[in-house]
Amino acid sequence: MESKSDSYAGSLVASLLSRMRRFLFHVLSTGPIPNHIAFILDGNRRYAKKQKLKEGMGHRAGFLALMSLMKYCYELGVKYVTIYAFSIDNFKRQPEEVQGLMDLMLEKIEGLLKEESIVNQYGVRVYFIGNLKLLNAPVRDAAAKAMKATANNDKSILLICVAYTSTDEIVHAAQEAIEEKWGETQESSKASGAQNSDICQEKHKGHRTIKLADIERHIYMGLAPDPDILVRTSGESRLSNFLLWQTSTCLLYSPKALWPEIGLRHIVWAVLNFQRVHPYLEKRRKQV
């Protein structure tokens, strides 16, 4: 009897909090809502130390925080959420920690595919972004499976950056763009023959120049518009090789809270700051 009334009270409180949250989001929605928010999930290990948890438990606590954040973002109407789950630089960490993270990723990717997961609840399409060849086969296969399974979801998008750095992304995009241009030029020259080589060269001079659109076509994060807000938790104020290309006009927000401590108030504060600068940024975007 007692546990039934406890659980009834618990659902009542949860329902009340949910209603209050929706009301708050309704008020926030009178201003512009960011289309894309990116997160650097910093502070999991410090959280585990602070709470005296076992090694690796900080990342699990971080995963729970991520689920809450995703829920808040999608309820608010943010269409794209990007997370920096694992950097290429993180491979430098202790092998046990790296393996622990890979195992956690595998477990959670498989969890995403379950019926009751947040991904199905909110119609989220999942993409894994990065140099996926650097991942071990089980994680790579699970990622491919998750992308395929959520391909028909169209309400929101979750981009999980794994084995990713911006500098690797840019080099990869440049390689692909150059390969594409150089490949086209070579084939066209062969087709036109050796004669009229000067005309041929002039005609393809424009094609040989790498343009901005060529890089943007091959960049991993080309699936999404540039983020409106980049949130990095734990008070550190650096990009750590994340979305360097995409964050040139993005609002940077560094709350002191560690990632597992992030909450609704941080999202609200970030959105309010976004709404403050949005008119100016829109005006600049149109001018440029």
Binding site: S87, I88, D89, N90, K92, R93, Q94, T165, S166, T167, D168, I170, V171, A174, Q175, A177, I178, E179, K181, W182, T185, R208, T209, I210, L212, I215, E236, S237, R238, L239, S240, N241, L244, W245, T247, S248, T249, C250, L251, L252, Y253, N273, V277, R284, Q287, V288
Partner: protein, 314 residues
């Protein structure tokens, strides 16, 4: 006799009998007193002048001396070994500062900001920061024609009037950005300033004019593409190290900033550096540029020194 005393001090230092402070004081006295340089000091100073690095017999000792000399000029709370090698600054807030005070003239407003930047650069010279970059004019600033005219005039004025002062501080000045779109007179001045200061071995000041982070990545991509087209490079050999060498910041000994400061409280990069900011500590100061003073700069440096930089590792 003086030469003998000087030599004994240096030998005494090497064997720990003389402290770094004594050595630095001795070096100062030498500079003031002796008309002919002591062969030992001459060897040291020549080798420093030769390549700007301390590859001399007294390399470690002179580093200590320099550290002590810097420490003696550093304000409290700052440690010389924790100072950033390269500081980048986004100069923001001139117009808002002027609007708040009802100033309408553009050129005097920007002159105010220019004065502040010069003071910061000279502080960096004093504290032996190696490289300073300033975001003087973005690829996106062309949309404000009146401001463009004021800024171009200011750049010409500063380069003509202040070059001697920068030479006095031994500052090397480089300009990064697409200079081809600038007025011809400014392009000529830029070339003159770069040539005049090329041999200076002090602080390296990089002025970003008509520069953008994406512009720099694009010009590097095009440069690499032309090497692939010529056959001097294979696509599969393109890597991050090679790419970084093609960026315009490669002219500096420390091309990537350790610290980026933006004044006026706006919390974004605004297409300043892109690739170069991968691991840079960012500091947003609420002060507008004309109000940014030495104590604000010291506060930023103290904050930088407390940061733990892990580069993704442990």
């Amino acid at each position: 006799m003086a030469f003998l005393v000087n030599s004994c001090v240096k030998v005494g230092f090497v064997f720990g009998a003389v402290s770094p402070t004594t050595l630095s004081l001795q070096a100062e006295q030498d500079a003031l007193r002796f008309p002919f340089p002591c062969p030992l000091t001459m060897c040291c100073s020549e080798s420093i002048a030769r390549d700007g690095r301390r590859e001399t017999f007294f390399a470690n000792e002179l580093s200590l001396v320099k550290a002590v000399q810097i420490q003696e000029t550093l304000p409290g709370g700052l440690k010389p070994e924790l100072l950033p090698n390269h500081i980048a600054i986004i100069l923001d807030g001139n117009r808002r500062w002027a609007n708040e005070r009802g100033f309408k003239e553009l050129l005097p407003n920007h002159r105010n900001g220019g004065r502040v930047i010069k003071e910061i650069v000279f502080l960096c010279c004093k504290w032996r920061i190696k490289v300073v970059s300033i975001f003087a004019f973005s690829t996106e600033n062309w949309v404000r024609p009146k401001q463009v005219d004021a800024l171009m005039s200011l750049f010409e004025e500063v380069m003509q009037n202040d070059l001697q002062e920068f030479m006095g501080y031994n500052v090397q000045i480089s300009f990064i950005g697409d200079k081809s779109k600038l007025p011809k007179s400014l392009q000529e001045l830029i070339a003159t300033v770069e040539n005049s200061t090329r041999g200076n071995m002090g602080l390296h000041l990089m002025i970003a004019i008509n520069y953008g982070g994406r512009y720099d990545v694009m010009q590097a991509s095009r440069s690499i593409a032309s090497k692939v087209k010529d056959g001097s490079l294979q696509v599969e050999d393109i890597n991050e190290t090679l790419f970084e060498k093609e960026l315009e910041t490669n002219c500096a000994e420390f091309p990537n900033p350790d610290l980026l400061i933006r004044t006026s409280g706006e919390q974004r990069i605004s297409n300043f550096y892109l690739w170069q900011l991968a691991y840079t500590e960012v500091f947003f100061s609420v002060k507008k540029l004309p109000d940014f003073e030495e104590e604000d700069f010291i506060e930023v440096l103290i904050s930088f020194q407390k940061r733990e930089r892990r580069y993704g590792g442990n």
